[in-house]
Amino acid sequence: MKQSDAEHIGTALANAGFNFAATLPATQIHTLQAWLATSPKFTSVPVTNEGEGVAICAGAWLAGKMPVIVLETSGILVSTYALMRCHATFGIPILMLSTYRGGLGDQEWYAVHTGAVLPRLLESLRIPCKVVQSVDDVAATFVDARRTMDASLHPVSIVMDVRLTDRE
């Protein structure tokens, strides 16, 4: 992700009310994760796996923070137990801002199967999802996500298409 896009997306997250971020480095979004780590607008926590990360975000929400986990596609698979046993069971929201490894146009053989199952995985977890392709769309989408989180008390997913994460 371009540095300018990372700054734009991070600022849009803050403007939408998000102020707590868990991150685990990923190739396509490390610039955004680095921006969040140094932004005074966020409490940023580097985690060891995404399941731990979403649980930390649950604690942050209980305390009044508005949490986002910034993760790669496979991290959603890693986090499913915590999402169901913690967030869905207790009714705790979180924004999952992820890449779309294996999405249309991603030429990485190891990501193909993860990308293929992602839409139905999120659907089976009853997590509403929107795929964004342009950096121009993120600000409004983050506001929408926060409103849905407040109303549903359930996780929300925003998946960044390769056209956004991989553009030069």
Binding site: F20, T43, V45, P46, V47, T48, N49, G51, E52, G53, A55, I56, C57, A58, G59, A60, W61, L62, A63, G64, K65, P67, Y81, A82, R85, C86, T89, F90, G91, I92, R147, D150, A151
Partner: protein, 202 residues
Amino acid sequence: MRRFDCMQALAPMITDQLVVTNVARTGFEWRMASQREGNLYTMGMGLVTPVVLGLALSLPHRGVIALDGDGSILLNLGALATVGNCAPANFVSVIFDNASYASTGGLPTATSGRTNLVEIAKGAGISNAVGVSTIQEFTAAATAALAGNGPWVIVAKVVAEKPPVQPKLMDGRENKYRFVRYIEQTEGRIILKPSIVGREDR
């Protein structure tokens, strides 16, 4: 040493701390020892410590306590590394170590063999990691931990047992609402925003 004896020793020390418990009898027993709105019971296996870390980082002025178990923390040992690196001074984890999955049949955990949770916590960067095996030791460690200078991990060696417990009659959602309302009231902040109608912070 019995887990419930530790809880009975801990309960009178609690003032406004937030407490999150492990599944099964840890949650039931803590409710029998301490009924208060600042308790969140029955967080899932492996999730207690990271949830409490999120609370600790978001309310750094307030004590937070995890009542965890050996089987639970073994499911998510990476969380101890994150605690060690974030190093919140208000974080306390009590890991009740009965060396078994006592609530689900009693088969042994790794701590029944060569695994030492105190050494793992220290290796994760938590210098205030202590092991206790008597009520006197537990009470002294809990008193020191609640005074601050965390993060603290207290590994309490307890017997594996399934004592009779009282029913909670409250599911996790009701418990969550009451816990969050308690935080709203004591912290003076609004957390639950189910509708934008009439709100200025839309």
